[in-house]
Structure formats: structure tokens, C-alpha cells
């Protein structure tokens, strides 16, 4: 008995579709979270500062970050990270970042919080919080987009008695190292 032409058509379209979905699902949700990840970020946005009656804003420098993250807790999936930060475009400065990341199970979203310390040529102390999502382009590499809030509260780069807060759109690449 010959299969119906409609069934053949469904199989011809459906099997490749199912195969693509399975492969896509495997890429989007790797079976095991990596122990180590290397991350490169570029952030740009707006910064606010000043005293209450004279709040002002302007664009931020381009912030480049390279960090290494290591999983420290499996459930919930929490990783600690640390790395280098560079401010560039209209100035040049370097420092360090550190903190923790939360990767909720079954979600592309992630959350991070930590600190930033710009060391030279001026100093800045700040706290950061960010949230965003990652999409695996290939199994070991993900593209990420985040919104990051940073509050600089101390350091030689701040006018006396003021703080600076910046909100940046951050684009990143994450490499699963191990």
C-alpha cells in the first residue's frame, strides 16, 4: 500500500524541521553548564551625576571588559567572575571588575552584580548590576545583550561630594572554556 501523498509531504517537511528544532534546542540549552567561561563585553550609554538640584548627564566612555567566570554553585547556578575593564573612546583608563552571576535554570536570562575599581590613571570605586540574555550562536559560543547599571561612589575622578551613575547597553560574547 502506497503512503498517501499528503503524508509524504508532511514527512518531507516535518523531519528536517524536527531535526532542526532538536539541534537548535541542544544549542540553546547545553546539557551541562560549563565550569569556566570567558566573556568579552562592550558597553556604551548614558551617565548621570551631580547634586540634587543640578543633575546632568552625558554619554559614557566605551567600556570594554574581559572577564573569566567560574561556576561556584550548581543549583541555583551561580558563578563568580573577575577580570579587566578599560574605558576608552574619549579617555583611556583601566581597572578591575569582580562579582557574581546568576543563571536561572531553563532560562536564557542572567543576572549579575558586583564591583568595579578603576585603578589608573584616575581611581573610581563603583557597584554594578546587570541583567540580560544570551543566545548560543554555536555550541560553545553565545552572544549576549545586557543592560548594566553602574554607580560610581568614590575615587579621584569624581568631583567632591558627587557620585556618577551610568546605564549602558552591553553587547558580549561568551566562550564556554571547560
Amino acid at each position: 500500500m502506497r503512503p498517501a501523498p499528503r503524508l509524504l509531504r508532511v514527512l518531507r517537511l516535518g523531519v528536517p524541521l524536527l531535526a532542526w528544532c532538536a539541534a537548535r534546542s541542544a544549542v540553546a540549552s547545553p546539557a551541562a553548564d560549563p565550569l569556566w567561561q570567558l566573556e568579552l563585553h562592550a558597553g556604551y550609554g548614558l551617565t548621570f551625576g551631580g547634586i540634587a538640584s543640578q543633575v546632568r548627564w552625558r554619554s559614557t566612555p566605551l567600556t570594554l571588559t574581559a572577564i573569566a567566570a567560574i561556576a561556584v554553585i550548581d543549583d541555583p547556578a551561580i558563578a563568580g567572575y573577575g577580570g579587566l575593564v578599560v574605558e576608552t573612546l574619549d579617555r583611556n583608563a583601566a581597572g578591575a571588575v569582580f562579582g557574581v552571576e546568576l543563571h536561572p535554570r531553563g532560562s536564557r536570562l542572567h543576572f549579575a552584580g558586583g564591583g568595579v575599581y578603576v585603578v589608573a590613571p584616575y581611581t573610581l570605586w563603583g557597584a554594578t548590576a546587570s541583567t540580560g540574555a544570551c543566545f548560543h550562536a554555536v555550541p560553545a559560543v553565545a552572544l549576549c545583550g545586557d543592560v548594566q547599571l553602574t554607580a560610581f561612589v568614590a575615587g579621584s575622578d569624581l568631583p567632591d561630594g558627587t557620585a556618577a551613575t551610568q546605564i549602558q547597553l552591553v553587547l558580549g560574547m561568551v566562550f564556554d572554556a571547560l
Binding site: G50, Q54, W57, R58, R91, N92, P121, Y122, D157, A164
Partner: protein
């Protein structure tokens, strides 16, 4: 770029990215020069009011180097006026490129 989300949309940018780009391109009259010292040109610092001014250290150093420490100390209170003239043109703030 004009200061409007519409301009960002017309440039093909949407969502959060368009908003950030639109705001970053804004230069309304109320915008002041600086939030941080490194926003200012070389040799200047950011005031709490958001404008750039000659760095006190730079003007004091210039006076001290040029006229001796006693004269420099005496003139420090007046550094804003005197220091501007004494500021070496090529001296750069440490955060400048």
C-alpha cells in the same frame, strides 16, 4: 543625529538600542560639560556644578615651580586668576590621552 527616538527609528534602530542611541545623540541646552573629572579637557577638573575649570593642583604647581614655594603658597588663593596665565599650555592632566 537629532534628539528623538524617531530619528533612531529612521536610522533602523529599534527597542532599547534605539532609545540609547537617541538619548546619546541628544545635546539639549541643559546639558553641562562634565560628570567626572576625566570628562574635562587636559588640565581641568569637573566642578560639582558640572562645568570644567582649571585644576587647582595644576595652577598651584605652576606657581610653585615658577616663583618659589612661599610665593606660590601666598598666591594660591588667587590661583584661579593667576594660575590661568601660569598654566603651561602643554601640561596635561593624568587622565588625558
Amino acid at each position: 543625529m537629532r534628539c528623538s527616538p524617531r530619528a533612531a527609528r529612521s536610522a533602523g534602530l529599534g527597542g532599547v538600542l534605539g532609545l540609547v542611541v537617541a538619548l546619546a545623540g541628544c545635546t539639549p541646552p541643559s546639558t553641562t560639560l562634565c560628570v567626572r573629572n576625566s570628562d574635562c579637557p587636559a588640565g581641568q577638573v569637573c566642578t560639582t556644578g558640572g562645568s570644567c575649570t582649571i585644576a587647582p593642583d595644576a595652577s598651584t604647581d605652576a606657581l610653585t615651580d615658577g616663583a618659589g614655594s612661599a610665593a606660590g603658597d601666598a598666591a594660591t588663593d588667587d590661583a584661579a586668576a593667576v594660575g590661568n596665565a601660569a598654566q603651561p599650555a602643554g601640561e596635561a592632566a593624568p587622565w588625558s590621552r
